[in-house]
């Protein structure tokens, strides 16, 4: 590599997708450059085109995607006009990509080590033994224990985090000049994520590859990258040094994204989240794409499309009023109304020695072992744990979707340890659930009106006219209009679907609502709005929540009490502040440190609240 220019230079790249509704622009004139040894982050919500950009650089676009303009220079060579054959030589030797789902990148019928050794045999022409030696070295480099034995195992014998390490070692095996990481830790548990991120940090010291890090998670990007680009609807809206962009945003979208994150270590009692307005309406042609959601919009934004303007320092912002945005400083924070949680007197829900054992391949797997806790009226209990910890099984037993092998569930003094359809009408009314996946939670062949009406008719004795009244009011509360009633679920966005699901859970006045990862598949900007909605509804209806989440910031923000599960056991249970401040169990400590270990969190420490409450000062410092 003789030239000192950037390893990757994308200039004015545009990508369109052909769909049933015609051509849809996925990437609109994006330019970026990455030098050797540099890491550039690409942040954006779903649909922003960030994955498409990664695919376009690799020239792996799906069949209906086409590059309609611009060029992608790799060390000066434009990749766009190359044939697949020429491309595969460059891809194989110089560019590597790590995808979100590690199991898709590994061949399940080949031994893990062989797949890495193959890279050495194919590209460096090494013989079997040499290749094996190099591959084992690689497995050791990415931190797999016992690389010699790991070499001979098949992909399914590794955990998700280990598989991702193997994929990373494959990507690094050919010593690429350009490494594209597309959401490499999404879907992994927090503790695993923090290990993988640590691995990237270590590897940065050992390789001089240019890195393009694509993620929806601002904290992760901040911890890895020197420079960052923010994508909105296929367009770069802000670029610059990571620190500058994330501490002094000059674009309203960046600012909004930062403001709506759930800050680490903050509780709902001290601060209200600041959601971005929903992005359900399109901007008029020729206008700024962000105009409909923008807090800084002016008439000019509807008439003209802004370019990327220099906005001080290394930053560039696609906003006519970037100075104004920069002057506005970090997002202001509204104090919460500070209303206290329920008193917790008495027990709404009592769980005694609840137990569930699954039989798998002749072995007993204890999913939940003798769980016991009580939940008072009007309180929010957060259940935290990694995948496989039994938290979802516990919730499903309480909901009556799973029959326990032992123990009791008592709701308002009534024993409801039985399947949901055997429970009394009163018990069914009292307990509702909001599920994780918005797209699975509503029946795709029913209209929203049908879905909500059925819920009311089945659980509420009132007449249809009164039902419609209740629904209209509830629909307003979840910020949906009457026009949504005639829609089918697929015509709604993920956030809207989840709002309907919340309306369904609340339409018959439940006393206890189980929230199973209610926001984990939603974008951050939508997440803030949904969390605010859940808080408002909880205060209005005085309902109790059982909140299941892997996101500790969300749990810390919402929950009054916290229950930590590990391998089916409750390892810690107490008031949220106590658990976060002085965890007693070693596992809880690991979990908490995994979150605070994110380097980026220091950079993105929550801005100080104006009215400091007594509660706030007791908060642990996330840095």
């Amino acid at each position: 590599m003789t030239e000192a220019g950037p390893v990757l230079q994308v200039e004015d790249l545009s990508v369109d997708y052909r769909t049933g509704a015609g051509l849809v622009a996925a990437i609109r004139g994006v330019s970026l450059a990455i030098a050797s040894g540099e890491a550039v982050g690409l942040v954006g919500e779903s649909g922003s085109g960030k994955t498409t950009l990664g695919m376009a650089i690799m020239r792996y676009l799906p069949a209906n995607g086409q590059i309609t303009g611009g060029c992608i220079r790799y060390q000066g060579t434009d990749l766009v006009p190359l044939t697949q054959r020429e491309l595969s030589r460059i891809r194989g030797n110089h560019i590597a990509m790590v995808y979100q789902d590690p199991s898709g990148a590994l061949n399940p019928s080949l031994r893990a080590g062989e797949q890495i050794a193959e890279v050495y045999r194919a590209h460096l022409g090494l013989n079997r033994d040499e290749a094996r030696g190099r591959a084992e070295g690689m497995l050791e480099l990415v931190g797999l224990p016992e690389p010699h034995r790991a070499y001979d195992r098949y992909p399914h014998q590794f955990s998700g985090g280990q598989k991702q390490r193997i994929v990373i070692s494959m990507a690094l095996a050919m010593d690429p000049n350009l490494l594209i990481l597309d959401e490499p830790t999404t879907g992994l548990d927090v503790t695993v994520e923090s290990d993988i991120m640590q691995l990237f940090a270590d590897l940065r010291a050992k390789t001089s590859a240019a890195i393009l890090f694509i993620s929806h998670d601002i904290g992760l990007v901040a911890s890895v990258c020197e420079r960052v680009g923010v994508l909105y609807r296929g367009e770069l809206v802000e670029t610059g040094d990571t620190e500058g962009v994330f501490t002094r945003p000059t674009n309203p979208y960046t600012r909004g994204l930062l403001a709506c994150r759930v800050p680490a270590g903050v509780s709902k009692d001290s601060r209200r989240l600041e959601p971005l307005p929903s992005g359900d309406t399109d901007a008029p042609a020729g206008a700024c794409l962000f105009e409909p959601r923008c807090a800084f919009r002016k008439p000019r934004c509807r008439e003209q499309h802004p370019a990327l303007y220099p906005a001080g320092g290394s930053q560039r912002s696609r906003c006519f009023f970037h100075q104004e945005v920069a002057r506005a400083g970090p997002p202001t924070v509204t104090a919460s109304d500070g209303r206290a949680a329920g008193t917790g007197d008495g027990a709404l829900l009592e769980v005694r020695g609840l137990r569930k054992v699954f039989r798998a391949q002749g072995r007993d797997l204890v999913a939940v072992a003798d769980a016991a806790f009580t939940l008072g009226p009007g309180r929010i209990l957060g259940i935290v744990g990694e995948s496989g910890s039994g938290k979802t099984t516990l919730a499903r037993m309480i909901a009556g979707l799973e029959v326990p092998d032992g123990g009791k569930v008592i709701l308002s003094g009534v024993d409801v340890t039985k399947p949901a359809n055997k429970r009394s009408l009163a018990s069914r009314r009292a307990l509702q659930m909001v599920f994780q996946h918005p797209d699975g939670t509503l029946n795709p062949s029913h209209r929203i009106r049908q879905i909500l009406r059925r819920q009311m008719r089945k659980l509420d004795a009132g007449d249809a006219a009164r039902h419609d009244e209740t629904l209209a009011e509830l629909l307003r509360a979840v910020q949906l209009g009457p026009q949504h009633l005639d829609a089918r679920p697929r015509e709604l966005s993920g956030g809207q679907q989840q709002r309907v699901a919340i309306a369904r859970a609340f339409c018959t006045g439940p006393q206890l609502v189980i929230l199973d990862e209610p926001t984990s598949s939603l974008d951050v900007s939508v997440q803030a709005a949904i969390l605010n909605l859940l808080i408002d509804l909880q205060r209005r209806e005085q309902a109790s929540y059982l909140l299941i989440s892997h996101d500790l910031a969300v749990v810390r923000y919402l929950a009054d009490d916290i229950l930590v599960m590990h391998d089916g056991e409750i390892v810690e249970y107490g008031p949220a502040a106590d658990v976060f401040e002085s965890p007693r169990d070693p596992y809880t400590r690991t979990l908490l440190s995994a979150v605070t270990a994110r380097v980026g969190q220091a950079l993105l420490a929550p801005p100080a609240t104006q009215p400091e409450t007594a509660d706030e000062s007791r908060m642990p410092d996330p840095a």
Partner: protein, 267 residues
């Protein structure tokens, strides 16, 4: 305009639909269309080759083959549509139950179906029909029972991909009955699969009707029936090939047309 373009893109499907439409029209209106009575014998003009008087020639009893083919379309369509409808209904009910209840119900249902599927349709059907005696109703029931297992399997796997969705959990939590969840929550989501299934089974059913009639277990003479006509003409195939070719072509045209439509529905 858009329709014209869609047609040009899939001329095969248009042709197939046209063929089906023509057969259905013939099945309904054949009494008005036939030049001769389908059972009308004219022993003086046996084995006549296709001509202006007899478009498709005559058979061993001097009956007009063209008229017999038109008349035969009705019984084939009625029996195959009836048996397919019945079979798909049974199969769908079994598939829904097996997938929804899982466990022992699933095991019992699916293993019994495996047992049924272990025998070729035609063998079992001919044995059963030989015992029950050939009649249109028996034919419908036997073919329906033989088709159901295949349908049940497809429906079961389609339902399996839906039953663990959260909207089913939500229905269970508000206390819906099993029947409600099966027919109101799950069934509407597999309508697409059912359409493909129905057309594929219909083609199979037509083939079964023709085969059973050919073997003598189906429609009885002198009723005009395609399978029967092939069977009756077989001994004279060498001297009068049209006696066999015409009904065979009719069967083939129907089955191919339905398969083309099924293929289109599937994609």
């Amino acid at each position: 305009m858009r329709r014209v373009r869609a047609l040009r893109r899939a001329p095969g499907v248009t042709m197939a639909l046209l063929v089906l439409l023509v057969w259905v029209a013939i099945a309904v209106f054949w009494p008005q269309l036939v030049p001769y009575g389908p059972t009308e014998q004219e022993l003086t003009s046996r084995y006549e080759p296709p001509s202006a008087q007899h478009w498709l020639g005559t058979d061993n009893l001097g009956r007009d083959i063209f008229s017999r083919i038109l008349a035969g379309s009705r019984s084939v369509l009625i029996v195959s549509v009836a048996s397919t409808t019945l079979g798909v209904a049974i199969g769908t009910a079994i598939g829904l139950c097996a997938a929804f209840y899982r466990g022992k119900v699933d095991e019992l249902l699916m293993r019994s179906l495996d047992l049924l599927m272990a025998f070729p349709i035609i063998v079992i059907a001919s044995v059963v029909l030989a015992m029950l005696g050939p009649s249109r109703l028996n034919l419908v029931v036997v073919i329906a029972v033989m088709l159901a297992p295949y349908n049940a399997r497809v429906v079961r796997s389609a339902v399996l991909s839906w039953r663990d969705r959260d909207f089913v959990a939500a229905a269970r939590m508000r206390g819906e009955s099993g029947a409600f969840i099966l027919f109101r929550e799950l069934l509407p989501n597999i309508v697409g699969t059912l359409n493909v299934e129905y057309t594929l089974r219909l083609a199979l059913s037509i083939f079964a009707v023709a085969t059973l009639s050919f073997l003598g277990f189906g429609i009885q003479p002198p009723t005009p029936d395609w399978g029967l006509m092939v069977s009756e003409g077989r001994p004279f195939y060498q001297i009068a090939p049209w006696v066999v070719v015409a009904p065979a072509a009719a069967i083939a045209s129907l089955i191919v047309a339905i398969n083309v439509v099924a293929q289109k529905l599937r994609s």
